[in-house]
Symmetry: D2
Subunit: 348 residues, 4 copies
């Protein structure tokens, strides 16, 4: 068997970073990953077990300070950034200069169009090198961009909401059967881990429990990804995220009108053909619909639909575990493709 | 002060019936209500405290068997039916024959159009008397049908989902500013008490917790009410209900396109004008949106909205407590109007 | 009718303070309460609606800065402190000097014994005036200290856990039937609002949901109150609090051994006699036990028990809503007694 | 590599049976298990995917009717019974007559003492063969009975509550340091999956959410197992189960008094020594305590403790996932021991 790959993770103290670390620890092709403390958070010299007692009893997980020479000495070839987008924005170029490949889980490198990036307010907005790197970055949604990922030096891992919405719509838009003039709507609902580990009044248990709330209507950062990957105009899509009283999981209910009346079997074929051979998309047969529970703790994106009797009005339901297919699991899937391994490895 | 009204409740053993009973017990205009056991459920001779231990220590709540002479003897003037629609369908005509006024919380008498009633599969579908009674029944949404309620002999209390959707859309449709050709969508989410007290695999805690699921897409009974009260065609509306992992509360996210670009202040005025003087609708000022928690344990319907920069795409958010404004509270509000009392009485 | 009482609340921005404010707003004997911003939190000049959008649409709730002359001018006679204990510790004496009566919801004035106060680390630990005020303060558990409350200038409102544990044990200890040598154990479980409104990693939704954890074992601040009110030695009691994945409510499972074998009916009589005429304690008849749901949104303390066949091993179950009987409701009950009103007023 | 073992599962339609099936499907030493429909439930000819849509897309899971000749033809050597105890009671002897080894997840064969079995009301209570089989059955708690399991023909897999309580107490009782005269108390809390998949009013979402309740006080079936495995008298133990508003997980808070004052380090050593080499018990260092979340989706039993300053009063906290270490995971662990495999296999 080939030598195992040495990876490093920066940001294991967040929800996605922890999930990623746990996946990497049991991935058969990998050495034990190097864990790096976030420079901004003073997490160097921390032991991850102190942050996540759930790791107790399985040995030590010390975080080491980020040092490029040290990473080189340790033989690290691939760096995962599970960091806020500002940090990814400054560290990814450095890492690439050092010869590392990078999978970035933030929004730093996902967007090609300037108007979509505005919402992030990047400090380096006018920098040429940032613009060049943005061009080179591959949007790491394997079901769409399978061809570019193997050679990518920088993979921009998709947002969790974006994954659920793009995978629901891509087959239909690709087939050209959607009446885009009437508009597309995604009403999406996410568990609280999607809002990050930082405590605030929005993530306080009492604020979330027994509740549901919409937020960031017409102003969520993931919209840009959806527009770019689906080739939509801003006016063609409404995306409304909601905060669910559950720890994890996303369900997007997506509404489209078809150009002409179709049969349910035709719609189902459209999905099955598009995702043929795609291990991590699971298409449900009508009338069964995905539920959040079905995709939890898996790397699946589950897709189902209901077609009105008129054959025109179509309701799609798309579910992902926001920490797996919506973040860490998809990052591992991207790594598998980057190194020519089976897409399933380390994800079963 | 005038003599107090004597009421009776059939179906206090369900969630809405219990909530109604508790409201009636503390309503200042009422005698202690007579509680009737459902004939089909053998609940006669049961004590309500045994069904709902939450009532413990506040005295006895015996259910008596339904008997028209006995109700007459007790001076009952108004009967609440918190029963399945089949039972309401047979009992409401009997009660009216006996001279009682009726507020029915089921779907038995809400629908005027035959094609909308088909989904209920009424046994008496072809009966002339049922047709006549259907004509006389008043749809008890006070914010819309305030004029007819005071004289109604039979009030059909609206469905919980329908209340949240109709109140969100009525002002805009009334103003004629909605582009109905592009379609209207209500993505609605409800707590589990809306599914009734009967235990089944769908309402099992393990099925609901940590989950979200869509159901009855293009086939929910409340759609007919929405279409009739809003004067919409079936093809103009998509309604998708979802089951939330919370005990009570409904949030509907409603999507419409406006005929021409408007300003947020104009939309807000549209709502404020329409609901001027309507005590139980609470309009939120942009950018604040209602959340389920805000309306729980109140009779409010909370309304808020977000308008896209283009002034055309409009997202409405509507919240009700499904057991209060969506059922028992609205029934009390209807009673207040039927007897000329202040709309707030017994609901604060 | 007598003139209405003018009250003020300091700390309406916390969970207990909000609950208290809502109770005071609808209390028939009161003027609209003056709402004061916490000096440490810069909440003066804030509108309470901005902190709690649930209050939207019911008018304005401006907080005014604390000023004794201004309170005097407004005719305030009674001040509620819903503040951290350090603030209560400094403000209560000032308020009393100004001639106000005070009901304090913190732990500042509950403890008579120095060793029990140590855990609070009061800055004024050695002050004579603080010691004198401590002596004058009345522990505001009306079921035990009904006699002293009417004349109290300073009422120390009990802790939520303490209320549930003391009320469960007082009848049995008073009757002298408990084998104290074998030890008394209270295994208590609380909803998250008991941990306060401040967001932190412990109260983050993801930390609490799908979880249960014990905390502060052998080190919780409420133990001192239990020992003092029940005349127990530290070694005679074990109290273990747990954090439940619910917003509110406390259930304490309390274990005692009886000196000699008794019958269930005798135990029940012991409770019923002790709480005869006490409106806000509800004793359940065996074999029915209280559940958290039964006492939510009420001012009840619900008590029930199971006795082993040997007549010696006794399991008590005690439930309160931590924000009502465990805080704001009990404060209103204390006010009712202080002013000679019916104990129920404003609490139904 | 040796030939893979052929197993069969009866009862895959329950929560434990499903969890077991999923573990067996990915166990490296096993053929795909034969799935059998419960004779009483008419589940033969059902496809498991229809019962658990979470299995969708991973192929078919047809249930076959139970037939001993057919099982022999298929080469089945080991039968798992995830069935109600009455069914296990009748099928286990049949299976053993047919030469199969059996791991039974019910309470049918766990109890040696007649007085402890009474609560189950077995139909065959007086049968000689049942008595003999009871004698031969091995209580499958590997941390205690590791020696007998490899040769067992019938393993009685422990109850979920019993696992959490016995593992917390065994080291201390074995060391003889517990003051048994003062009594031992286990206050245990379980998620709803422990109550089974059958819908009823107790498991309805609305009954469980925002709630906590004690049940079966002094009358739970698992007490007998605790008494027998720990050699305790009935009067020495109080066990109180509670129903938590979470899908899965158990936390037991166990109270003991020590014979003489000890140090925390000594107590910790007692646990570490007793469980040395036991892979699936995780001892937490003081002051860290287990939480339910830490053991979910693992086969761990997590143990921690707090010792009072007096060195006598000891609070133990024990957590298991009721469907894994409390049921299906432990069954796999037992299988691993029965066939001489590593205790970890199929459980990581």
């Amino acid at each position: 068997m080939a030598a195992k790959l040495q990876t490093a993770v920066l940001g294991a103290t967040g929800y996605s970073g922890l999930e990623l670390t746990r996946l990497l620890l049991r991935h058969p092709r990998l050495e034990k990953p190097v864990l790096l403390g976030r420079p901004d958070a003073g997490h160097a010299n921390v032991n991850l077990v102190d942050v996540f007692p759930i790791l107790s009893g399985n040995g030590k997980y010390p975080l080491q300070p980020l040092s490029w020479p040290e990473l080189k000495r340790q033989g690290v070839k691939l760096l995962f950034l599970a960091t806020p987008h500002e940090i990814s924005r400054s560290l990814a170029p450095e890492a690439m200069t050092e010869g590392l490949r990078v999978i970035d889980l933030s929004g730093a490198w996902r967007l090609k169009r300037q108007q979509n990036r505005a919402i992030y307010n990047f400090q380096d907005a006018d920098s040429v090198s940032a613009a060049q790197l943005t061009e080179r970055a591959v949007y790491g949604l394997p079901e769409l961009n399978r061809e570019q990922i193997p050679d990518a030096a920088l993979v921009a891992n998709p947002g969790c909401y974006a994954t659920s919405v793009i995978l629901a719509l891509a087959p239909l838009l690709h087939a050209g059967i959607v009446d885009r003039e009437r508009g597309i709507i995604s009403d999406s609902k996410s568990g609280v881990s999607g809002a990050g580990k930082g405590p605030n009044s929005r993530t306080h248990f009492v604020s979330v429990a027994d509740n549901l709330s919409a937020y960031s209507v017409f102003g969520h950062r993931h919209v840009g990804e959806m527009l770019e990957q689906l080739n939509l105009e801003d006016r063609e899509l409404i995306f409304t995220p909601h905060l669910l009283p559950i720890p994890r999981g996303i369900l997007s209910t997506v509404y489209v009108y078809l150009n002409s009346a179709m049969k349910a079997a035709e719609v189902e074929s459209c999905f099955r053909n598009f995702y043929s051979g795609r291990r991590w998309v699971r298409v449900f047969a009508t009338p069964q619909l995905p539920q959040i529970q079905f995709s939890l703790y898996t790397n699946n994106c589950d897709l189902g639909f209901c077609l009105a009797e008129d054959g025109r009005r179509l309701v799609l339901v798309s579910c992902v575990d926001n920490l797996l297919k919506g973040a860490a699991g998809q990052a591992v899937q991207n790594m598998n493709l980057m190194y020519g391994w089976n897409e399933e490895e380390g994800l079963l």
